[in-house]
């Protein structure tokens, strides 16, 4: 059985890590990424998801580049605002999906007004106006993508043999834009003679000539397509700039290698045959990007580790809840197994990100969410293994699930492996300060959940003193671990700030947030030592710790001030307020409710 599993893994791995069109490197947003990621990011920007029900993102992109007619008729633009749909004069649909053909005409009519809106600040626009501008930008990118390979698509056909002969071409054969260039001077010369002729007086052959000239001119306008940067710099002094197919020929950056590459793309778009396209692509970018990183990233995209880990955490949570009703031992074991599998998938995903990005997985807000979840789940599983009382499992599955959902909302913004700001692009401090601080956050959340657990248990079963004591002692231990990492991380942050910005401490909101967490944990632990805080008070304090961490982690990013403002986001204010309010109401409410009940009894 083990051998079979091993062989299966080997085969899957070989297939998963093989080169394909998905691994073709492309430069986008300052990073060289596989075509698969590029396609997913662009599909996400219009459709809201990284794949269509009927096809993958890569297939969608290839269709867009190869068969514009079909692609423009496919409903992929996700418009969820009825006001926006009404503004565009479209009918409201339950599925909210519209094709490029449907939206392009109304957008074109409003081009001038959209241009004016574009010049304003985002805060000055209404939600509909903001979405209109975003939709217009997305439609332009869509069009630009469709034009990426128009120079090699066989879109010109001459039916008249006499005209074909005059242009030194063959009648009935399809030619692409590049192939038409030799005939262009003759064509332009002939069209020049027709300029003074009335359109009604043109014969059929002259009409064909005029149509051909018009098509060629229209195709020439598409040479502005720069979005798909597939060609690495070919000649000395290229300044590291990758070029799109059109840019490559327009700027004269073509070479025998790019000619060969373009020919392979032409064949691939014509009949879907790889023909060594991916191998040539990887060879072309030798020394600029590691082929293995591209393959790993495609594998990472396909497996979608974090969706898998979420499913298992959720399953673990449901099994645990089920264990409170029936089969306690059996279901709890299954719950532990499910959480364990989820943890392995989670860890594998993080490991893949480390290999792909070549840096610790704590560089962006999205990554820090995943890492905090990882630490919290690890802590919870260790607690469960040592205590075997279900509390660790509850903590692990709850935090794992909640943070995954929060992480997904950030993943929906686009490429999650983007470039870093310069100050973050130092692996030593990423590996030390940021990792330590996020471990501290993770432990705080574990303690926070234990605080919730204590309050709920004390309310429902005040007689379960042993269990309450257990939770209390575990949460004190957790607070100590959290304090250690938070304090250590804060000090390391100060040292990093001194090296990067020339000062150890600047009362930056992020620094203040980290200090607040440390001081709060110190206050709680001192309260425990001096017996100033009761078990109930400590539990409330741990619930409040969640609020502290949320404010320090997310809240400061809303301020967009200080040297830590690279994580600025304005989209989570409502959710943050809702979370903090809910925690406060829960914590304080439960505290006083319990006190009241215990006083009465």
């Amino acid at each position: 059985m083990k051998k079979l599993l091993f062989c299966l893994v080997l085969c899957v791995g070989a297939g998963a890590f093989g080169a394909s069109v998905a691994t073709v490197p492309v430069l986008h947003e300052g990073r060289i990424k596989p075509l698969d990621t590029f396609a997913r990011v662009h599909l996400l920007s219009v459709y809201g998801k990284r794949s269509l029900p009927e096809m993958s993102a890569l297939d969608w992109l290839v269709e867009l580049m190869r068969d514009r007619e079909t692609a423009f008729a496919r409903p992929v633009f996700n418009l969820r605002n009825p006001d926006l749909v009404g503004h565009l004069g479209l009918e409201w649909r339950e599925k909210h999906l519209y094709s490029f053909n449907e939206i392009s005409a109304p957008l074109q009519k409003q081009e001038k007004s959209i241009g004016l809106l574009h010049q304003k600040q985002k805060e000055e626009l209404t939600p509909v106006q903001r979405q209109l501008v975003d939709l217009y930008t997305a439609s332009l990118s869509y069009l630009e993508l469709a034009q990426s390979f128009s120079l090699v698509l066989p879109q010109f056909e001459i039916t008249d043999p006499a005209l074909a002969s005059a242009l030194k071409l063959e009648a009935g054969r399809h030619y692409n834009y590049m192939e038409m260039q030799t005939a262009r001077p003759i064509l332009e010369n002939k069209i020049e003679k027709l300029r003074n002729k009335e359109p009604d007086l043109l014969n059929e052959k002259e009409w064909e000539l005029a149509r051909l000239g018009f098509s060629l001119e229209r195709a020439a306008r598409e040479e502005g397509s720069e979005i798909l940067r597939l060609f690495p710099p070919q000649w000395h002094g290229g300044e590291g700039e990758w070029l799109s197919p059109w840019q490559s020929v327009r700027r004269g950056d073509g070479s025998p290698a790019t000619a060969d590459y373009l020919g392979l793309w032409r064949r691939y778009l014509a009949n879907g045959e790889d023909g060594g396209l991916s191998a040539v692509a990887l060879d072309l970018s030798k020394g600029l990007v590691s082929p293995w990183r591209l393959r790993w990233e495609v594998f990472y995209n396909r497996v979608d580790f974090f969706t898998k880990s979420l499913i298992f955490y959720l399953l673990g949570f449901l099994l645990l809840v089920g264990s409170w009703a029936v089969w306690p031992t059996r279901l709890r074991r299954l719950s532990f197994a499910a959480a364990g599998v989820g943890f392995l998938a989670h860890g594998a995903g993080l490991l893949m990100r480390i290999f792909i990005m070549g840096r610790p997985p704590v560089s962006t807000l999205y990554e820090s969410i995943l890492f905090v979840a990882f630490i919290a789940v690890l802590f919870g599983l260790i607690l469960e293994k040592t205590r075997r009382n279900g509390f660790g499992l509850l903590t692990a599955t709850t935090i794992g699930t909640i943070l995954h959902f929060i992480g997904f909302s950030y993943a929906a913004e686009g490429d999650t492996m983007g470039m870093l700001v310069a100050v973050l692009n130092t692996n030593f401090w990423l590996a030390t300060h940021v990792v330590t601080i996020t471990i501290g956050y993770g432990c705080c959340f574990v303690g926070g959940i234990l605080g919730h657990l204590y309050l709920v248990l004390r309310k429902l079963r005040p007689e379960a003193r042993q269990k309450l004591k257990e939770i209390y002692r575990t949460s004190v231990g957790t607070a100590l671990v959290a304090l250690f990492f938070s304090l250590f991380g804060t000090i390391l942050g100060g040292i990093w700030a001194d090296q990067s910005w020339g000062r150890f401490w600047g009362w930056d909101p992020k620094e203040n947030g980290a200090l607040l967490i440390v001081l709060w944990l110190l206050f709680l632990l001192h309260g425990v030592l001096t017996k100033y805080l009761t078990q109930l008070g400590f539990a409330l304090g741990m619930v409040v710790t969640n609020i502290m961490v949320a404010l320090a982690w997310f809240g400061v990013n809303l301020l967009n001030v200080g040297l830590h403002s690279y994580g600025f986001t304005d989209s989570i204010l409502f959710n943050l307020i809702a979370f903090c309010s809910a925690e406060l109401v829960f914590g304080v409410g439960m505290y006083f409710w319990i006190r009241l009940r215990e006083r009465e009894s």
Partner: protein
């Protein structure tokens, strides 16, 4: 079992921590440069002159070759040719010029030459100047990725493509001539 797992996890964290801290390099990250250029051999092509005779690129090994892509309807090409022809004359037999015409008709080449002064027309007779016709730009586009004119490839004596010059150029430029001279060494 849990102990083994924790040990493995701890070891992995230590390894990654040491690597990313810069204390030890385990070679996980491969050096990725912004730009890399290594002269590649030119494709092994055979050109055809308007009179039907062939000239293979491989037969020019040992000489520095200028592969100039042009067309008769290209104004800047016309402006560039005099300095290009002067360059070939200056360097004697050390440089060979292959001027690849992308016209639709080879007769256009003859018409193009007649636009030049008698001196220029005589320079076209230089045995080290080869005017060839690329039917339907098959070689220019599909072998060399050339679409705009003029573009010139500089090949060293091993027929490796060392430089590409896009657009019309003054071949009398001392820096350019120095670059070419270095290829003779």
């Amino acid at each position: 079992m849990i102990r083994v797992f924790l040990c493995a996890l701890f070891s992995l964290i230590v390894v990654l921590g040491l690597h990313f801290s810069g204390v030890v390099d385990f070679g996980l990250s491969s050096p990725e440069k912004e730009s890399t250029f290594v002269p590649q051999p030119a494709p092994d092509v055979v050109f055809t002159k308007p009179d039907g005779t062939k000239i293979a690129l491989r037969d020019l090994k040992g000489k520095v070759v200028l592969l100039n892509f042009w067309a008769s309807w290209c104004g800047p090409c016309f402006d560039e040719f005099p300095s290009l022809l002067d360059l070939v004359e200056t360097f004697g037999g050390q440089i060979v010029l292959i001027a690849v015409s992308n016209d639709s008709d080879p007769k256009e080449i003859g018409k193009f030459i007649r636009l030049f002064s008698p001196k220029g027309q005589k320079q076209f007779q230089n045995p080290h100047v080869h005017l060839v016709w690329d039917e339907r730009s098959a070689i220019s586009q599909k072998q060399f990725g050339v679409l705009r004119f003029p573009e010139t490839l500089l090949l060293d004596s091993q027929l490796k493509m060392v430089k590409k010059i896009v657009g019309p150029t003054d071949w009398a430029d001392p820096t350019l001539q120095e670059t070419i001279r270095r290829l003779f060494l």
